[in-house]
């Protein structure tokens, strides 16, 4: 987003500098997961309500500032005289009745009507959602569950949610431990994730892309690193992804990866992590059946590359201090094999 200065040949004017500043600020904010960059119908509704409120707020602030500044400037000159002006009586009830009661009442009624209208448009999906995603908050990661009428077809993954574009998705959230809050700003508002209570919400995406979400309710030492990715893709692509996720892990073909699987099952890994189709059935950490298909590791903390993954396995505490995965003591050969095995889990 470049802004070209129109001041040709002359020194750039104030306007051009301001435009350049705005452009620079704009580029500095590019890529932000902002509610004001909506990628869905409900988020767009919220954003327009937000813009309306921002504009009203700005107007009110400017008017009040002018109303304060004018007497201040007048007083400033009088203060120089060093003699106190005489005491006087005055009224001013008209100011209070008009500025303090009449105008605010009208304005607030307007705001409330628009608010209520936006509420009714965004609190429920316009059409029935075709499917539902269940998200469970953990300290400090997201368990994502795609239930199916056939329990064999259930999908469990973590920290990455794939959805088809252009259709409402029903969302059920609950927590395994403390309160979290599910929030993907570009797709919809927040819904708190509360233990002992299943909250329902919905969201959708209207253009393909990857949208960053983050836990919004302070949930402990690693609240900071509890992000997630929402991948919005065309229906066919989504179906293909879901079909792939439904398959259990395939037994690896080469010896190294097979040794890696054995090491995974033998080491402490399998106590906390599950890989469908193997002996690893731990429930404390994310399901790793298709870990190689994910973009990020550690709930959006680091990219899923071999180097990052190996570092995470050996000592995730240096990356995300306080998370529940202990420091591992795995010899080099086993780590090499485990890495080879995990790379097969697409």
């Amino acid at each position: 987003m470049s802004v070209r200065s129109r001041c040709t040949g002359r020194t750039p004017g104030l306007g051009a500098s301001a435009a350049a500043l705005i452009a620079w600020l704009g580029s500095a904010c590019a890529g932000a997961p902002s509610p004001f960059r909506p990628a869905s119908e409900p988020a767009a509704q919220l954003a327009s309500l937000g813009w309306l409120l921002t504009i009203i707020a700005a107007i009110v602030c400017v008017i009040i500032m002018v109303l304060v500044l004018i007497p201040a400037l007048r007083g400033w000159r009088a203060t120089r005289a060093r003699e106190l002006p005489p005491l006087h009586r005055g009224d001013g009830e008209r100011w209070i009745v008009i500025g303090g009661i009449a105008i605010p009442v009208v304005m607030l009624l307007g705001v409330f009507v628009v608010t209520a209208a936006t509420l009714s448009k965004t609190s429920h999906p316009p059409t029935r959602a075709r499917f539902m995603i269940q998200v469970t908050g953990h300290q400090w990661w997201w368990e994502v569950h795609y239930p199916s009428p056939d329990p064999q077809q259930n999908v469990t993954t973590a920290n990455e949610i794939h959805i088809p574009i252009g259709e409402p998705i029903a969302l059920r959230v609950d927590s395994r431990d403390v309160i979290h809050s599910f929030w993907v700003p570009q797709l919809h508002g927040k819904i708190d994730v509360i233990p002992g209570q299943t909250n329902t919400f919905w969201f959708r995406a209207d253009s393909a892309g990857v949208y960053r979400g983050q836990c919004a309710e302070y949930c402990g030492i690693q609240h900071t690193h509890m992000a997630l990715q929402v991948v919005a893709e065309p229906r066919a692509q989504f179906e293909a992804w879901l079909a792939q996720q439904r398959r259990p892990a395939v037994a690896p073909g080469d010896a190294l990866a097979l040794a890696g699987r054995a090491a995974f099952e033998r080491q402490a890994c399998s106590l906390c992590h599950a890989i469908q189709g193997t002996g690893a059935a731990g429930k404390l950490g994310p399901d790793l059946t298709h870990v190689a298909s994910r973009m990020m590791l550690g709930a959006g903390t680091i990219p899923n590359t071999p180097g990052h993954l190996a570092g995470w396995i050996m000592n995730s505490q240096t990356i995300k201090p306080g998370n529940d995965m202990p420091q591992m003591y795995i010899d080099g050969a086993s780590l090499h094999a485990i890495m080879a095995y995990l790379a097969t889990l697409h």
Binding site: T54, I64, A72, G92, R94, W95, G99, P104, Y218, G220
Partner: protein
């Protein structure tokens, strides 16, 4: 006594005699036993400012950490403790007590009384406040400061998720502080109803009395909710109960309801008295009585009332039914109206005068601007569906700082500049004051305005760091720079206070030509406040002659009551003279009671139940001594 006796001007002898009666010796005993509301008020102010400085240092550490992405100056554990302590300190140990300090100091002077209604309770409330703060900060000595945020959502505060003492310190320190706040509020209410000068009928009460009385009533209804929540939390943690434990049938949302039923009225508790002080100061500099006095009084009371009906707006994302929540959204919008009434009363007062632009006025005008910015951002968060985007982001952090710094700290600084001459007899430096204002005002806006932007860019609050490439870098760097500029501004303020105390120009009784009773006595006031108990006939007794009022107050003539520590009690509405009140002597009992309470809380903290038991018995003993009727006391006073 005979109330109709004509009074003559008291002699110097009477003054000397009163001095003797009310004098608190400058000995160790005198310092610990004093019940003088002025000394207690100044102690409240100084102690609160110490807590402000502590909270400010914590903020400085946080802003250093967040200046750039991926910094590791603080460990996550340290950051979480520091942000929790910052919020807890500022909201509980600075924002409310600082206003209690002003009220303690000023109320009897505004009311024409010689002390608060319950002077020993006043001393008690200070000692409890001080000790609860020491109790809270003793957690730093063991490295276990509270770390679950100042609103400490369950179940993260339960033993399972927080096994060390951190949240025991939190629950007990707050419980400890609520005792102080509660007894203080009762004292204000009794003082308002009984201690006004004869003739100061309810419609002649200064606005500051109205605002502090309103919030004192709010405290009595709001604080039990916090006390209950903290008690339940402690029971859950240390007595294996399950109030907030969903696995055992408890409810995490119960904490949120209890906390915010207290918490939202608390917002008004920490701003209304500051607004009340602004309503006292603005008229002085505008050289006229406040426009729409009655409107402002009504608005103050309405704010206190509506404040009880909006707590759910802190819980818009908790999954409550939209219909139920929209009522709270509407109520939250409604609260704009009393605020707008008050703002326009100030604007009307300003508008038909040439305000004298001294330092307090700079801070007051800055305050009005910040108040409006904090108000409109509040409207944005009250709009229920948009709040789904705003809640728990930096936008809310920006909003609450505009409210708390804008509507609490700015008028507080103005009030120090304004009443410092009364308290010390010296003026604060005007030149340094201007620097002070502009550095604080610019630093504040530079620091806190960009927080709106980081919030709208999707930055959640309470994260100890953030990755680059999320678009949050610039806003955070500017915020950190602004926060440090603001801190320099606050430092200039402290410097001005310390330097002016010794070198400031001599103030005289009434340096600003104010109209209320505190300006009729010397600066600093004598220990007995008023040589004669004044009789009041208008809201600005010192302006009557120049405003051409029909009725005249009597300030120099009246009862001297020089037979003991005495002042007058009046009727609640019309302030008709009802009786002569005998006020208590200095006493070590408030300090003793606060000390055994401190031991009691340490006993609970360490689960040394026998220590707690002995201390509880100690509380009982001290209360018995305190309340034991004295044989020499006339039995007529209160029946």
């Amino acid at each position: 006594m005979a109330t109709t006796a004509p009074y003559s001007e008291p002699t110097a002898e009477t003054a000397a005699h009163l001095d003797q009666i009310w004098h608190t010796p400058h000995t160790l005993y005198g310092r610990l036993a004093t019940v003088d509301h002025k000394i207690i008020g100044i102690r409240y102010l100084v102690t609160s400012f110490v807590f402000l400085a502590l909270g400010g240092l914590e903020a400085a550490a946080m802003r250093a950490q967040l200046a750039q992405p991926n910094l590791h100056l603080l460990s996550p554990e340290a950051y979480n403790q520091i942000f929790t302590m910052h919020g807890t300190t500022m909201i509980f140990w600075y924002a409310a007590p600082i206003l209690s300090g002003f009220s303690n100091y000023l109320w009897p002077l505004l009311l024409g009384s010689r002390d608060m209604a319950l002077p020993r309770v006043n001393a008690l409330s200070y000692w409890l406040f001080l000790f609860s703060g020491i109790f809270l900060y003793s957690s730093a000595l063991v490295g276990q400061m509270p770390d679950r945020g100042w609103f400490a959502y369950a179940p993260m505060t339960e033993l399972r998720y927080s096994p060390a003492l951190n949240m025991d310190f939190y629950a007990l320190a707050l419980l400890f502080l609520t005792i102080s706040t509660t007894v203080g509020s009762i004292n204000f209410l009794v003082t308002m109803l009984k201690m006004r000068a004869p003739g100061m009928s309810i419609n002649r009460m200064p606005i500051m009395i109205w605002s502090t009385a309103t919030i004192s009533l709010s405290v009595l209804f709001a604080l039990p909710s916090l006390s209950a929540a903290c008690t339940f939390l402690f029971f859950d943690r240390r007595l294996a109960m399950h109030f907030f434990d969903s696995a055992q049938g408890g409810s995490p949302l119960l904490w949120q309801h209890l906390f915010w039923i207290f918490g939202h009225p608390w917002v008004y508790i920490v701003v209304l008295p500051a607004m009340g002080m602004a309503s006292m100061m603005i008229p002085t500099f505008c050289r006229r009585p406040l426009a729409g006095h009655t409107y402002v009084v009504m608005a103050t009371i309405m704010t206190g009332l509506i404040g009880f009906g909006v707590w759910v707006h802190h819980m818009f994302a908790t999954g409550l039914p939209p219909m139920a929540m929209s009522f709270f959204s509407a109520a939250s919008l409604t609260i704009v109206i009393p605020s707008a009434v008050t703002v326009f009363a100030w604007i009307a007062t300003l508008w038909d005068s040439k305000p004298v632009m001294r330092t307090p006025m700079l801070f007051l005008l800055g305050f009005v601007v910040l108040f409006v910015i904090g108000g409109v951002s509040g409207v944005m968060t009250a709009a229920l569906p948009f709040d789904w985007q705003l809640t728990d982001t930096y936008f809310v952090v920006a909003h609450l700082h505009y409210v708390l710094i804008g509507i609490n700290l700015f008028p507080v600084v103005a009030a120090v500049y304004y009443w410092f001459p009364k308290m010390t007899g010296r003026m604060m430096s005007e030149r340094l004051g201007r620097w002070n204002f502009w550095v604080m005002f610019i630093g504040f806006n530079l620091g806190f305005f960009p927080m709106h932007i980081s919030g709208l860019l999707g930055m959640p609050r309470r994260i100890y760091t953030y990755g680059g490439g999320l678009g949050w870098d610039v806003a955070n760097l500017v915020t950190s720079i602004g926060a440090y500029v603001f801190a320099i501004g606050v430092l200039l303020f402290f410097i001005n206070v310390i330097v002016s105390r010794r070198t400031g120009a001599v103030a005289g009784d009434n340096p600003w030509d104010g109209g209320t009773l505190e300006w009729s006595v010397s600066s600093p006031p004598p220990e007995y406040n008023f040589l004669v108990i004044p009789t009041v006939r208008s809201r600005e007794p010192l302006w009557e002659d120049r405003l051409g009022s029909a009725q005249r107050s009597s300030i120099r003539e009246g009862p001297t009551l020089a037979e003991g520590r005495e002042t007058v009690g009046t009727t609640p509405l019309d302030a008709e003279l009802a009786r002569v009140l005998t006020m208590p002597e200095d006493s070590l009992l408030p300090l003793a009671l606060a000390l055994v309470t401190l031991v009691l809380f340490y006993g609970l903290l360490l689960q040394a139940w026998w220590v707690a038991g002995v201390a509880a018995f100690g509380v009982y003993i001290v209360l018995n001594i305190w309340l034991w009727p004295k044989a020499t006391e006339p039995l007529s006073e209160e029946g």
